[in-house]
């Protein structure tokens, strides 16, 4: 039993020790050689490593966090002399379990102001993370996050699509995540352990495209000094993703149709046919049925690739995903760049919500990446946004309003109306909502036409 008198009055070494042993946060200290000098009880419990084993070892051998290599918070603290608070990370314990944690660091300074080393405090977030996963399971598939009704419908049928071997056609504007969706289908399906090969059909001339896909034999052309396998051979057992299939020439469409029909192809310069064992996922930012009607896309190929069709809605039709995506991009960039940006402020969110994102999710990612260049730490504000977002008339960044969400809704609807020459039916279609919903919102928000 601890004598209550021991922990009253000024902190002594003994009382500090008692407190450190009682708290549920893991705490360890290091010296200038990065060797652990103290390791509390909670640190033992979270890492699964005893104090006896930990003390005297380099911190990265004991702590084993994803931050150790390139983004060590303690290293930053030691170099810059300032603390870091609540950075998200994970550690790997001795039973190979990934444990989500938050980390805070500061300098270890004695009563004379002399720096002795650093201190790292970490908290086990396993329970929080489990709850968060449970909550987000409904709007999270592989690397795709969405809370929109249209995307949730896709998420629901995605497991069945992944398990089948049917050819999939993904339609959607540029930057809506077509390749990410294709990868998700591949990763969730029986071919996941085999390669995923992507090729942009719109970026290459026919001969190059055919040599990339079908490969070539030695002597097929001047510099073909040895056989080179194509994507179909390299992806054997896996998936070939044909991006921008709508931009291919009629001649290439014939070659592709033959592969899809006969499951075999002839490498350039070859005489023998080779069989294929790949799943095809095609994507386009154009309307293939429209191209078919104008004879720019072969009808027989259209029906071959259009076995299962997925349409990815543009970001302006699922603006509820903007906060989720922003959070995702910030944590991704924090990891990649070793920064500790905590989020965006309300004005930035309102500004983003009022933007129509012609470049879709890729544009949003670029905006956040731009902000990362200018924002060194803390919260992203309007000062860190690209000029075209800040210069927009009546953006919440320039004219703060009482309710940023309402302001964003007004801007979004006004932009859609302006884009569609104030045709309300077209604007409703553009926004992905029913026209009666648009009329109701125009009235409720007091938008003057």
């Amino acid at each position: 039993m601890i004598d209550p008198k021991k922990i009253s009055g000024p902190l002594t070494q003994e009382t500090t020790q008692i407190i450190l042993e009682c708290i549920s946060d893991g705490v360890f200290t290091i010296d200038y050689n990065w060797e652990i000098t103290s390791f509390n009880r909670a640190a033992e419990e979270i890492t699964g490593i005893s104090r006896k084993e930990a003390i005297g070892r380099h911190c990265w051998e004991v702590f084993r966090s994803n931050m150790c290599e390139a983004q060590c918070a303690l290293k930053k603290t030691m170099e810059e002399g300032k603390p870091y608070v609540s950075t998200s990370a994970y550690i790997i314990d001795s039973s190979q379990k990934k444990i989500p944690i938050s980390v805070s660091t500061s300098l270890l300074i004695d009563k004379h102001g002399e720096v002795l080393g650093g201190v790292e405090i970490f908290r086990d977030h396993s329970l929080v993370e489990a709850l968060r996963k449970q909550l987000s399971a409904s709007f999270h598939v592989e690397d795709i996050v969405s809370n929109s009704t249209a995307m949730k419908k896709i998420f629901t049928i995605l497991p069945q699509i992944s398990q089948s071997d049917a050819t999939v056609l993904i339609e959607g504007e540029t930057g809506t995540g077509k390749e990410l969706m294709a990868r998700a289908i591949h990763n969730m399906g029986p071919r996941k352990d085999r390669p995923f090969m992507a090729i942009n059909c719109g970026a290459l001339p026919d001969t190059l495209l055919e040599s990339e896909l079908f490969g070539y034999k030695k002597g097929a052309f001047t510099h073909a000094v040895k056989d080179k396998p194509g994507k179909f051979a390299l992806a054997r057992g896996g998936t070939v993703f044909l991006d921008e299939i709508g931009d291919t020439s009629p001649a290439f469409q014939v070659s592709l149709l033959r592969v899809l029909q006969e499951h075999e192809y002839t490498p350039l310069g070859g005489v023998e046919k080779e069989d294929t064992d790949v799943r095809i996922i095609a994507a386009t930012n154009r309307d293939l049925s429209e191209l078919m009607e104008t004879d720019q896309f072969r009808q027989d190929l259209y029906y071959r690739v259009n076995v299962v069709k997925l349409f990815l809605p543009p970001l302006r039709q699922r603006m509820e995903d903007v906060p989720l995506l922003v959070e995702r991009f910030i944590s991704k960039l924090n990891l990649r760049q070793g920064k500790f940006i905590q989020g965006i402020d309300h004005a930035v969110l309102a500004s983003l919500m009022s933007h129509s994102f012609p470049g879709n999710i890729r544009e949003l990612e670029n905006i956040i990446e731009h902000a990362f260049v200018l924002c060194q730490e803390g919260i992203i504000s309007c000062d860190h946004l690209p000029g075209f977002l800040v210069q927009k008339k009546q953006t919440p960044c320039q004219a703060p309003v009482d309710d940023p969400v309402k302001a964003a809704q007004i801007n979004l609807i006004s932009d859609a109306l302006a884009r569609n020459n104030y045709n309300r039916n077209a604007a409703a279609k553009d926004l992905g909502i029913h026209k009666s919903t648009l009329f109701r919102r125009i009235k409720k928000l007091g938008i003057k036409l």
Partner: protein, 118 residues
């Protein structure tokens, strides 16, 4: 025999799941006869497995590793020696000589099950 070690500068990477560079070394006559570096993405373990197979690597040495990539690697019949620490070249030299993980190269929590064979 060919080994690959996940490295961070001249050290063995503390965490496989956050590493990005492989040191591939060829051992013959109990010595490192050849070595070179290559990049990899730890978030795509299947790509790493293809890289290892392409380079004819049959042993992967790393620091701490989580269960998912560890079992994927073992499933592909690649030996996995995990929870290893220290200077990568020195480890390779001693491993080439004695085919074991010296005490100084063992992370806390290292046990015989870290010397996984498929």
């Amino acid at each position: 025999m060919k080994l690959a070690v996940t490295v961070w500068g001249n050290r063995i990477s503390p965490v496989f799941d956050a590493a990005s560079t492989l040191l591939v070394a060829e051992i013959s006559d109990k010595k490192i006869s050849r070595h070179y570096y290559t990049d990899f993405d730890p978030e795509a373990p299947m790509d790493l497995i293809h890289t290892l197979k392409k380079h004819h690597v049959n042993i992967l040495v790393c620091g701490a590793i989580s269960k998912t990539p560890a079992s994927l690697i073992l499933d592909q019949h690649i030996h996995l020696i995990s929870f290893v620490t220290g200077n990568a070249r020195q480890f390779l030299d001693s491993f080439a000589l004695a085919r074991t993980v010296e005490k100084k190269n063992r992370m806390p929590g290292f046990n015989q099950s870290c010397m996984n064979v498929y």
